[in-house]
Each structure stands twice: as C-alpha cells, then as structure tokens.
C-alpha cells in the first residue's frame, strides 16, 4: 500500500508539472489564435476588431494573469471555447474526437496485442521451426515500416483503386449515429483500413517481445522441473512460461494504452478520420490554445492513469513485488 501511495504522490506531482507546461508550450509558438483568424480573413478585420476578439477570448493582458484564469477555469473543468470551430466548446470537440480515437487506436492496440502475443508464444515454443523462421524476420520488417507508408498503400489499393472501402470519415453521413446494428457495422466498415494499418506496424513488437522473453524462460530450471513432472505441454507453455513472460508485456501494454489518446495522427490524416490526432494537428495550425491545452491535459492524464493501472496490475500479477512493498 505504501508503494502505491508513493506512486500516487509521484503521479500527482507529474500532473501538476504537466498542467503548467500545457499552458506555456502552445504560447511559446509564434503567433496566437487571433492572428491566425486575422490571416484567414485576409484583411477584412481591422486591428481594433482583432484586439477586441483577442480580449473576448481572454488572450490579452499579461501571461501571469492569463495563467491564473486558466487554473481557475481548469478547477471548474472549463476548457474554454475553440477558435477553430467557434462556438463549439473545446470539451465537446475533445470528447467527440476522443471517442473516435479510442475506438480506432484502442481496437488496433487490442488486436495487435492479442495477435502479437499469440504468435510470440507459438514461435518461442517452436523455436527454429517453420513458423518462427518465417514470421520472426517478417515481423521485424513490418515493425520497421512507418504507419504513413502502410496507411497510404492500403488507402490507395483498397479505397482508391478497388473501391472496397470508403474514402474517409468514421461513418456515412446519411446514417443516424445510434447504437443500432446498422450503425455499428457502418462504423466498423469505416474503421477497418485505419485499424489494419496500425495493427500491421505494431503487432510485430509484441511478437518479438513475447518470443524473446519466453525463450529466455525456457532454459530456466523451473521449466525443466515442470517437464520432469510429466505435465502436459499445454500446461507448461501457458502456466509455467507464458504466465511469467507476459509480465513485462503487460507493463508495455499499459504504457501503449496511455498513448492511445495521443491519437494516430498520420493514419487519421490519411483516412480523414475525425480522431484526436487530426483535430490536434489543425488546432496547432490555428494556434487554438484551448484545444491544444485540453488535448495535452487529456494525454497526460491518460498516460499517468495507464501507468498507475500498470503498477496495480503488476502488484496483482507478480507476488515478488507484492512482498517487497510490504517490507
């Protein structure tokens, strides 16, 4: 318990630092939201009108006062109004895009983890066999691809050439968003290529991580003892080897899940998918302070929470940690 409290204290401190940096980092970029609006309107705005606009968004006055207002608003969970999608409140934009990103990247991470771990177990157990000799190098290669290339190839082949999948968006415009079978199928249909392009470049690292940890464990005496006890291969493979090898993978998974809300910028961009990555990119281009701040905050919170969950999971799964923390 003391271990957890210590971790929790650390996470709170990290969160406080992040809140501060989130405020300053966007403001260090040259330009501000109103100059971008000014540029966008090509001189139809007078400098006086621009100052008034800046004041109405609260982006005038000295930085310290702005920071205080920001902290106050944050305490009320008020993230301000977006300048790119005026008058949409930032929180609803953020929520909208976070849902799609969660679906896209979350689904991709889950599929990639399951496939990668499964392949890792199989190829470690049959080390040097046909499957291992073929898929281990192939997966190293796939893992080295960037999502941009894979997404573009898939997009070009399946969406543009063969017209098997839609050109973009999370669902067809003509369909009412609701929890109906028809809508869910439509959403999955639109998500197929983006999910696939993420899975292709990520499952290899799970495969390699799991395979290598398992091969290290196969030489342990406790595996020889399990074999000597005449246990079934299945029991040795899963209970005695994979059980231990999965521990570091769980930590890695928690870290990956933390970054899910960072979005998949390139994939979302290629498939015109309304996720956080794509929104963040346009927010940065427009110097939309409130959206950038809120997105960074969301990302920080999710990474820290994922870390905390990984700590707790490790405590549950690894008895050695449990007793070390009792000392």
């Amino acid at each position: 318990m003391r271990f957890l409290m210590r971790r929790l204290g650390f996470y709170l401190a990290a969160f406080a630092v992040a809140i501060t940096l989130n405020f300053f980092i966007p403001r260090w970029m040259p330009g501000d939201p109103t100059t971008r609006i000014f540029l966008g309107l090509r001189g139809k705005l007078t400098p006086q009108a621009m100052d008034a606009l800046r004041a109405s968004y609260g982006y005038d006055g000295n930085l310290w006062d702005q920071f205080m207002v920001y902290l106050g608003n944050l305490a009320h969970l008020d993230f301000g109004v977006s300048t790119t999608n005026f008058p949409e409140p930032t929180s609803s934009l953020l929520f909208y895009s976070a849902v799609w990103t969660l679906l896209l990247v979350g689904l991709a991470t889950a599929i990639s983890f399951v496939i990668g771990i499964g392949m890792g177990i199989y190829s470690a157990w049959n080390r040097g066999g046909f499957f291992d000799s073929v898929f281990t190098p192939v997966n190293v290669m796939l893992n080295a691809f960037t999502p941009a290339i894979v997404a573009l190839i898939l997009f070009y082949a399946f969406s543009l050439q063969w017209r098997l999948f839609p050109l973009g968006r999370a669902h067809d415009l003509g369909i009412e968003p609701a929890l109906t079978f028809e809508f869910i199928i439509n959403v999955l249909y639109h998500a197929t290529l983006p999910v696939l392009s993420i899975v292709i470049v990520t499952f290899g690292s799970w495969h390699l991580g799991m395979r290598n940890t398992m091969i290290g464990l196969l030489n342990e005496d406790f595996v020889a003892l399990a074999k000597a006890k005449g246990l079934s291969d299945q029991r040795i493979r899963y209970r005695y080897v994979a059980r231990n090898a999965i521990l570091p993978q769980i930590t890695a998974l928690a870290l990956t899940v933390g970054y899910v809300l960072g979005g998949a910028l390139i994939t979302e961009y290629v498939f015109n998918y309304p996720g956080l990555g794509k929104f963040t990119l346009s927010a940065i281009q427009a110097r939309d302070y409130s959206f950038i701040q809120a997105q960074l905050l969301l990302l920080t919170a999710s990474v820290l929470i994922a870390n905390l969950i990984s700590d707790i999971l490790n405590l549950i799964l690894d008895p050695r940690l449990r007793s070390r923390t009792q000392e």
Partner: protein
C-alpha cells in the same frame, strides 16, 4: 538396505552435444545398475558428464544434447522407447528429479501449493481437496508447516525451497529419485539437515537414489555404491567405502587424495596435476593417461575396457590392474 534386485540398468549410454561445426561426445558407453533401495553416487570433476547422465536417465536431455546410443532399462522396460503418455507417466510416477538450484527450480509467480498439486493431479486420480491433502502431508513430511502451502517461493528460505522440491519429488512415491547436487547451493548447516532428512525418508519410503555431488565425503557417507566418471567415461564402480580405502583406478585414488580428512595432522593436499581433456580433442588410449603418474606405454594407445573384479567387489577400467 539395498537389495540385489536391479531397478535401473544403464548400458553403453552415449550422449552427444550437437555443435554448429562439430559433435561433442559428452558421455560415452557408460554402464551401471541402480538396485532397488540403493543410493548410487556419481562422482567426478565438473564437466565429466555426471549431470548429462542424470538428465538422460530422466529423459530430460534437450537439444543440442542427444542420446545417440545405448539402452536404459527400468523395471524391464526400455526407457528410451517411451513416448507420449507412457513417457509422461515415467516422469515423476517412476522417476523424479531434485535439481541443483532450489532458487530456480520453482516458478516464482506460482504458489508452492500449485506446483506440487499439479504433479499429483496429473498422475493420480486425486483432484481438489484430496490432492491438496496429499500436498499438505508431503509438506509435513519434509518439516514445513502445511499453513505455508500457498506461499510463493520467494517467501521461503533456500533450505525450505529445497525441502519443497524434495516434497514434490516424493509426492507420487517414485521408485527412483535423481538428485543432481541437491545441496550444493545451500550453506553447510542446512546441507547437513537436508541430507539427514533424505536419509530418514529413504529409510522410511524405500526409494532408490541417484546422487550427484562434488562433495566426495558426503557422497561416501550417503551412498551404497559410487561410480567415478572421467571425461565422459565410467572409470570405476565400487562400494562407497572402498573409494577411499581401496581405490583401484589411479583417478579414483587421486580424487580421494584431493579431499582433506577432518581429523589427523595437517597435510598439504596434492590435487590432480593437469586438467581434464577437451572433449573435442580426446587423447588416444586411456583418457586419464596424460595426467596419470603410473601410465604405461600401452595406456597411451589402447583404451582400457571396464572389467569386473569380483574379489574386490568392484569394476574398473585400467590397464594397471591386469
């Protein structure tokens, strides 16, 4: 305690290790018997093939190791021919194993209880409470309170972990337990405890033991007969006490001389000059000849055969004895 009925008959056992460019013969034409209720010891320097023999007997030889010749007979059955269910039953029901390192022989993230119960459940009809009851009995037998059944390996001391390994080895009442340096990783006091416990359990349950250790004194005390190995070959098999008092092979004699007596005057230990041969460049003739002070010209070009000397109750492979 040991009867004259043979439990395990090993004949011309040969084990090779497959390298990338060459094949190393780690064990060559080793033959010996283990009798019912007997403690048979395997002695020799590191790398002489003791553990390789032990692993081969339990059918645990793993690539790059490969049993390439000979026969192992257990209760009249051909052990090397076992496959599938018969092999799984042979492992643990008939022959169990205590590994050198108690630290690593138990899976650190599985409770001790499960690691003994799974052996019981796999091989007997017992499940659930019955299996658990048996596991608790075994814990009590080796002197660990059954309350600690569900603790994890790291919660036990090194000695207790080795006791748990012994409990696991005994849980199915096997006829033979192979102990590959069961006490090497423990301090001397704990070592003593464990050996005394094994002696008591052996007297009570009547299993046979194949015992491997570097500690010749301990081996002579514990074993009925001892086989001495050198560079992958058996050079002498004799009653335990004869290893020190009436060694036949020069290597056995040298081995005995390199262990200090506990009492008596302090003497400078001799050790054995030179080092064991590289398995990839074995000498022609007797493998011990280059280190042997009494080697004859014959020793350097003809390998001696293992010959039985009933009047001395031993077997040895040495030209000097003829």
């Amino acid at each position: 305690m040991s009867s004259d009925r043979v439990l395990m008959k090993v004949r011309d056992l040969t084990v090779d290790y497959m390298g990338d460019f060459e094949v190393l013969r780690a064990v060559e034409n080793v033959s010996f018997d283990i009798r019912e209720g007997e403690a048979f010891g395997l002695a020799g320097e590191s790398g002489c093939g003791k553990s390789t023999v032990a692993f081969a007997l339990a059918r645990l030889t793993r690539l790059p190791g490969l049993v390439t010749g000979g026969a192992i007979e257990f209760g009249g059955e051909d052990v090397l021919g076992f496959t599938g269910d018969r092999l799984r039953a042979y492992r643990w029901r008939e022959v169990s194993f205590v590994f050198q390192s108690a630290m690593n022989a138990l899976n650190p993230v599985i409770p001790a209880s499960e690691q003994i119960i799974d052996a019981i459940e796999t091989h007997t009809g017992k499940t659930g409470d019955a299996a658990r009851k048996r596991a608790a009995e075994m814990f009590e037998l080796v002197g660990i309170h059954p309350d600690r059944l569900d603790d994890y390996p790291h919660q036990f001391s090194g000695g207790m972990r080795q006791r748990i390994c012994i409990a696991i080895a005994l849980c199915l009442n096997p006829k033979l337990i192979i102990m590959d340096e069961p006490t090497t990783a423990l301090d001397v006091v704990v070592q003593r405890d464990i050996i005394e416990q094994i002696v008591a359990l052996k007297a009570e349950l009547g299993f046979s033991v194949l015992f491997i250790t570097h500690d010749l004194g301990l081996m002579i005390e514990f074993c009925d007969r001892i086989g001495v190995m050198y560079a992958g070959e058996m050079v002498e098999i004799a009653p335990a006490e004869a290893i020190l008092t009436a060694p036949q092979h020069p290597y056995t004699r040298a081995l005995g001389r390199s262990f200090p007596p506990l009492s008596g005057p302090r003497v400078r230990m001799e050790g054995i000059a030179g080092s064991p041969p590289d398995l990839s460049e074995l000498p022609v003739g007797c493998r011990f000849a280059p280190r042997c002070g009494e080697a004859l010209p014959l020793c350097r070009h003809a390998a001696p055969a293992m010959i039985s000397y009933p009047e001395k109750r031993c077997q040895a492979a040495c030209h000097l004895l003829q």
